[in-house]
Every structure is written in structure tokens, then in C-alpha cells.
């Protein structure tokens, strides 16, 4: 299965809005909760109450500082999980066929029954999207909640990845990026969505929307709005009285 299937028409993925993400980690923990209880082995935690706690997470939120040429430094919260690449190097390197890309919707999955835990797929992934579970010895990764998005036991509105469903600020969008008419494709087109590490040639399906420009400069077309009408309290009161008497029924 390590050969990539022919490109699918449907390319399911996420669009993550870096303008809106407040870095709250809600998606991180919702993902941990759902995927611990569902698809494959639990996402284990080593030494959970000890000196060196370390667990498997399929989605992690980084924070970066960006120093523009002018203006104050900015901060960008940056959630990152599997990007479900079209040319997924993690799939082709797999020696057992455990790692595969679904032919019908492009989701990249690990068949845990076939995984030998050699880690080579994680080596091949530039994004750090795969983590070997220390307890289960198999590779874990974002499944795009494949066990939610088609799940007939869930109400239709909930057939969306756990991270998207829980995101409080609505910074995560799920949909078909293979369909140029889909809401997510439109969003990518409107907002200039981009790929991570395009030079790696992985052709990620997931897209990121850039932060909108921050920190307007001081040159201000609105300045005339603050033109003084008075320089002291008496002047202000007089100005209001004049304005009132100019109104219909004023000057009583």
C-alpha cells in the first residue's frame, strides 16, 4: 500500500486561520480525548504524574514571534497536525504498507496492525506530524477523525473532526479542498491560503490562512475627527448648548 493512489477528486483537509487562532490548545486536547478513546491504540502518556511527563499528541499548537521591519513584534499561534499531503513521503517510505493514503478522500492513515514502529515515516515527514506511541509501539497520526466524519452514529452536524468541532474561535475549517467551489477552497482563495514548506514538494492538502496586517501606523486619515470643538469645560458646554438650540425644538 505504500504506493500512493492516483490523486483523488475529493481531498479532505483542514484550513487553519492564523489570524483567528488564539492559541488556547482546545483542539489539542479534544484531539487527544477523541483519539485516545477511538481509532487504534490509545494515545499514551509516560510518567503522567512524574518528573518527566511525555505523551503522544496528534495535534500541537506552537507560538511564534514575528518581528516585522517596522512596528511591534507580533505573535502567531500555530496549530500543526498531519497535512494529508498529496505527495506524502511518509507513505512511500513505509516498508510494511501500514502507512497509506486513502484513494477516495486522500486521508493519510496508519494501519496499526501492520505497523512495525520503525519510525521511518516520521523521519520522512517534514512537519513532525507523526509520533511513535511509546506504549503501543506503533505510529500515531491525525486521522482527520475518519471515524467521525462519516460516522452514522453521530448527528450529521457532528461529522467533523473533533478539533474543528471544539475550536472556540472558529479558526479551524474542515472540508473538501479538491472542490474549488467548497467553502474551504473559497476561504483559501479569498485569504491567500498557503502551504507549509512548499519546497519540500509534499503538496499538503491542509492550508494555512495568514494573519491579516497588524498594527496600523500612526499616519491617520481619521485625525480630522478629533478636531477640537472646545479647549475647556465651559467651551464644551457652550458648544453642546449651541448644538442643542440648533435642533428642532431647541432654544427653549
Amino acid at each position: 500500500m505504500t504506493q500512493l493512489p492516483p490523486p483523488s477528486d475529493v481531498k479532505l483537509g483542514l484550513v487553519i486561520d492564523l489570524d483567528t487562532c488564539v492559541g488556547c490548545h482546545a483542539c489539542v486536547v479534544a484531539c487527544k480525548g477523541w483519539n485516545t478513546e477511538n481509532y487504534g491504540a490509545a494515545l499514551s502518556d509516560s510518567d503522567p504524574y512524574g518528573a518527566d511527563p511525555s505523551g503522544t499528541f496528534l495535534n500541537r499548537v506552537h507560538s511564534y514571534e514575528v518581528q516585522p521591519e517596522t512596528g511591534p513584534a507580533q505573535q502567531v499561534h500555530f496549530p500543526k497536525s498531519c497535512l494529508h499531503c498529496e505527495d506524502a513521503p511518509c507513505v512511500t517510505v513505509c516498508p510494511t504498507g501500514a502507512s497509506y493514503k486513502r484513494a477516495e478522500d486522500g486521508i493519510v492513515l496508519v494501519n496499526e496492525d501492520a505497523c512495525i514502529g520503525c519510525s521511518l515515516c516520521a523521519w520522512a515527514c517534514p512537519y513532525g506530524a507523526r509520533e511513535l506511541d511509546a506504549a503501543a509501539g506503533v505510529m500515531k497520526k491525525c486521522t482527520l477523525c475518519v471515524d467521525r466524519i462519516y460516522n452514522e452514529n453521530l448527528p450529521e452536524v457532528d461529522r467533523t473532526p473533533a478539533c474543528v468541532r471544539t475550536c472556540p474561535s472558529g479558526a479551524r475549517h474542515f472540508g473538501d479542498l479538491g472542490d474549488p467551489e467548497s467553502a474551504v477552497s473559497q476561504l483559501v482563495a479569498e485569504r491567500g491560503g498557503f502551504d507549509l514548506m512548499p519546497e519540500q514538494g509534499t503538496k499538503p492538502v491542509n492550508k494555512y490562512l495568514p494573519p491579516r496586517p497588524r498594527d496600523a501606523d500612526e499616519i491617520d486619515i481619521l485625525a480630522p475627527l478629533l478636531a477640537p470643538v472646545a479647549t475647556d469645560g465651559k467651551g464644551l458646554v457652550a458648544w453642546i448648548d449651541r448644538a442643542l438650540s440648533a435642533l428642532p425644538g431647541g432654544a427653549r
Binding site: Y64, T92, C94, G97, G128, Y208
Partner: protein
């Protein structure tokens, strides 16, 4: 990259084992009887031991056989198949040698198998765009020269060993000189990793978790600059500096033993550096390389 002892041992010893087997396949030398037994045991301890060692880093070693199925795309799968086929054929060759005959055509096949095996091993690393230092012709060149050179040393092929190890030293030097800047030249930066590079200078501020994780353990390994320099020096001296003059002068049992021991220790050191100094692009997300 984390310099895992199992992977260092695997690549070093299986490289030497297949290198020796390569020369035995060519009939250089073509021992028989107990002498053959000795040579083949050394080759197989290296090759098989290395392969076994490599299973130590598997999460589910009991499923290792599944790794033979995906030869169409996976260098790791190809390596497994090549190694097993080569070792099986080599076994026949060894049996024949034990009983006094050298089967030349089979031997050539075994030698070819050894080349393929070493080549596929090298390609596991050389294929990775994510590790710019490895993605270069010097990676297979290094694996070949060290494997065959070390094999020649073990096979008592002084001239070949002299040539190959000299070449190996040159390749290693080139690998370092070009490799030290390849990450920076790869075009992958924190800016491209985050897509924020156009906005300004990007700096990792908060890691996603305050504690360690698999990615940091597996991919981010920092070797101090000074430390690395001395290790390179030691690796060069042991792997090449000691054996080459010995080879140039004359091999005795004692000097050959010294040369082999020094070379193996040197290769272990170089292999440790091969991993420890390899920077995976994922480190950019953590502000680490």
C-alpha cells in the same frame, strides 16, 4: 537526529559484514574449510547481528517480516529483501566454501547482492528531503566506501582497502564540508516552515508543550561545535588515520588486528556523528536544529 545505538550498530556492523561478504563473493580471498568458516562467521555476525540490532529500535519487532512487502516504493523494504536474499545465497556460497569449493558465478551474485544491500541501506537516509545533510551523493558513496573498504580490511585485501579507505576519507571530508551548509542552502527555514517568513523574522516563542516529546527526542539532537570537531578528528584518525599507514606498510596479524579494531571504532564514531549531526527540518518548528 537521535544517534540511536541500535541504528549505529546496525549500519556499522552490517556494512562491515556485507563488505566482507562482497570480497568473499568475488573470491578475494577464496578460503575453504575452517578458514572459510572463520571468514564467513565474521561476515555473518556483522551482517546478521547488525540486522538484528536494527530490530531493537522497532516499536513492534515481532512484525518485522511485514517489512519485506513494500519493495516497490520503500528503500527499507528493499534493503530487507536484498539483505535476506544476499545472506541466503551467501549461505550456499559459505557451505560450498566449507566443503572446499568456490562457486564463482554464485559468488558474483552474492557480491552484487551485497552492493545492492549496502546501496539500499544508504538510500534509506539519502532519500530523505527532511534531512538535507543526508540527501546527497556522498551518503551512498560513504556507505559504499566504508562498507567495501572495511570489508577489504577484514578480507585482507590490502591494496583494495588502501584505495577504498583513502577514497572513504576523501568522501567523508567532502560530506562534511558540503553537508555543514546544506541545511542552510536547502531553502527550508522557519519562515517557510511557518509560512510567516514574508511578515518578518520568525522566532519560535512557546513550544507546544513545556515538556519533551517524541519529535524532540527523535529528531533534535544538539552536538556542541567544539565537541563535534574533536569527534570528527577522532573518527578520522581511527577510521582512516591508523589503518591507512598500516595498510601502506605491511599487514601482519597483529597490525591487521589493530587496523581493524581502529577502523571499526572509527566508523562507529563517524556513524554516531552521521546521525547526531544530521538536522531534521522539523526542528525548525521548535527553534532547534
Amino acid at each position: 537526529m537521535h544517534p540511536a545505538p541500535s541504528v549505529i550498530a546496525f549500519t556499522t556492523f552490517s556494512g562491515l559484514g556485507f563488505g566482507l561478504l562482497f570480497w568473499l563473493g568475488l573470491g578475494l580471498p577464496a578460503p575453504t574449510g575452517l578458514v572459510a568458516l572463520g571468514f564467513y562467521v565474521i561476515a555473518y555476525v556483522g551482517a546478521v547481528g547488525g540486522l538484528l540490532a536494527s530490530t531493537f529500535h522497532l516499536g513492534r519487532p515481532e512484525r518485522a517480516a511485514k517489512a519485506l512487502t513494500q519493495w516497490r516504493t520503500s528503500w527499507l523494504s528493499r534493503e530487507g529483501i536484498a539483505a535476506i536474499v544476499t545472506l541466503l545465497l551467501g549461505g550456499v556460497l559459505a557451505l560450498a566454501a566449507l566443503f572446499g569449493s568456490y562457486l564463482a558465478p554464485l559468488g558474483w551474485l552474492v557480491s552484487l547482492g551485497c552492493l545492492v544491500t549496502v546501496g539500499t541501506t544508504a538510500m534509506i537516509y539519502a532519500q530523505l528531503r527532511t534531512v538535507p545533510r543526508w540527501r546527497h551523493w556522498t551518503t551512498p558513496a560513504l556507505f559504499f566506501t566504508l562498507s567495501l573498504g572495511g570489508g577489504a580490511l577484514l578480507a585482507n585485501q590490502g591494496a583494495a582497502a588502501l584505495a577504498l579507505l583513502t577514497l572513504g576519507a576523501v568522501v567523508q571530508f567532502i560530506a562534511w564540508v558540503t553537508g555543514d551548509t546544506r541545511f542552510d542552502r536547502s531553502g527550508t527555514t522557519t519562515g517557510s516552515a511557518t509560512g510567516l517568513g514574508d511578515l518578518g523574522e520568525v522566532r519560535a516563542f512557546l513550544p507546544p508543550h513545556s515538556g519533551p516529546n517524541y519529535l524532540l527526542r527523535e529528531f533534535v539532537y544538539v552536538v556542541g561545535r567544539k565537541h563535534a570537531f574533536y569527534l570528527r578528528l577522532i573518527g578520522m584518525v581511527l577510521a582512516f588515520g591508523v589503518p591507512l599507514p598500516i595498510l601502506a606498510v605491511e599487514l601482519t596479524h597483529l597490525t591487521a588486528g589493530v587496523a581493524v579494531l581502529s577502523h571499526v571504532l572509527g566508523v562507529l564514531c563517524l556513524r554516531w556523528l552521521f546521525f547526531a549531526q544530521a538536522e531534521h527540518v522539523v526542528g525548525l518548528y521548535y527553534g532547534k536544529r
